[in-house]
Amino acid sequence: MKDGKEWQMIETENLVKRFPHRDKAGKQAEKTAVAGLSLSVANGEIFGLLGPNGAGKTTTIRMMTMQTQPTEGSVCYDGLDTRTHAREIKSLIGVVPQHINFDQDLTVGENLDLHARLHHMGAAARKARIEELLRYVALTDVVNDGVRRLSGGMKRRLLIVRALLHRPRILFLDEPTVALDPQVRRRIWQLVRQMAWGGVTVFLTTHYIEEAETLCDRVAILSHGRLVDLDSPKRLREKTNLPNLEEVFLAMTGKQEGLS
């Protein structure tokens, strides 16, 4: 809370992303991936962006994390606009991408060290934090191994470790448990909850209904780049009078799109 009101950590206003593409006739056209998305995420909240494949979830995260510029609209963090305060904001956020994007020429420890250096951490702080987080996710044994040698689950955990190294206040997770077995998935959920208890604002995208229902304080449902609804999982169920979030999701995004 700030000044007695709920403290909005992230605010997007009318966020639009259009990409050039070729239409069926082969002519140059534009495709709208995100169409006027306005959201607010409170400090310390776990916020989920739920949608089928191609709904615009990853594009939204990429715009929010300054990896791609919005065609229109703005993103603010704690009142700071990404267009004018990019460097300050980048030091506040941690990003766990959907794909594994480690530097393939570096070891686990070197990948983490590089990230910490890019966030201007001193040598002693880097060493201590890397050790602390690797111990936390039980990966201390692989610190000198090449990242190629790790299993899928280890790589996912390591992506989270890397994003947390510089103690971000906001953590973005893009499909953090995709293609993981249930045990690893639950371990990652536990990790995310612990981050939120520690005061980190979490913004995650998922197409796993259970993940959204279990983890998120509020869920935004996205379809074809548009916000369909936004509320807590419980209230979404009550509003639609449906027994679970999966039914709500299917009802809102169209059963034909399915859940891949």
Partner: protein, 249 residues
């Protein structure tokens, strides 16, 4: 902020340095093969029967080999950035980091220059062992550095703009390979027909060859060529910086 910018450059350079350090022996050995073949074929073999500008052909081609080798090494040292951008996506780490965007360009170019200079040092040692004569002065070194900078920047631009590995290979085939042979490396550009010569003399490698040969033989450096190289380096930097910043477009 200036200190932080410098630290960002160092971080980007540090990453490339630790990768190079792991492969240093392999890098050095692999860089000895091509210059050794050039020196044997054109210095000892073909070169024994040729006299150029009152000296041996070996003395004539060593600056050319230095020019083309530093071009190839600095260009190819930076092209893995292409894989980092397109395939491994590890470039995203730099896009989301609170760093000065130009630090990425400068750090990568500096690392490529280092590789170019290591490779050039090997050639200098080999050339001396083969009995070549040339003067190594600070200006000679500056020209080598400028040449590495120019071609590292061209490599950086290719890595930012090109979509596939195949197209990256085509830059080597259509741009670097012709330059390797035509830009005053193995023979003087005066041997070419005038229209071709004028075109070739617009290219940076021609000016590097000319400068290295003139300085190496104890002559006065043509300042216009030095200015051309400096302009290429500056233009390459500005364009590379723009290309990196436009990745988020």
């Amino acid at each position: 902020m200036r200190n932080q910018n410098f630290y960002d450059v160092w971080t980007v350079f540090w990453r490339d340095w630790i990768v190079l350090r792991k492969r240093l022996t392999k890098f050095i050995l692999s860089r000895m093969v091509a210059p050794m073949l050039y020196l044997v074929a054109f210095g000892w073999g073909l070169g024994r029967s040729i006299e150029v500008q009152g000296g041996t052909y070996l003395d004539f081609i060593v600056p050319g080999i230095l020019a083309l080798n530093s071009m190839n090494i600095s260009f190819n040292s930076i092209t893995p950035v292409h894989a980092e951008r397109v395939y491994h996506k590890s470039l995203e780490e730099y896009l989301i980091a609170p760093i000065w965007p130009d630090a990425f360009v400068i750090g990568k170019v500096a690392a490529a220059v280092l590789r170019g200079l290591i490779s050039s040092s090997i050639i200098v040692l080999l050339a001396l062992a083969f009995g070549a004569h040339f003067a190594m002065t600070p200006l000679f070194l500056l020209v080598l550095v400028l040449n590495c900078v120019v071609f590292a920047e061209i490599g950086f631009l290719a890595a930012m703009k090109i979509s596939t590995f195949e197209e990256m290979g085509q830059v080597n085939t259509y741009i670097l390979l012709p330059m390797s042979f035509l830009c005053g490396t193995f023979f003087s550009t005066h041997a070419l027909p005038d229209p071709v010569r004028y075109a070739i003399e617009c290219l940076p490698l021609t000016h590097t060859s000319l400068l290295l040969r003139t300085i190496g033989s104890g002559g006065e450096a043509p300042l216009a060529s030095l200015a051309v190289l400096a302009l290429y380096a500056l233009g390459g930097y500005l364009w590379s910086s723009r290309a990196f910043r436009r990745l988020t477009k």
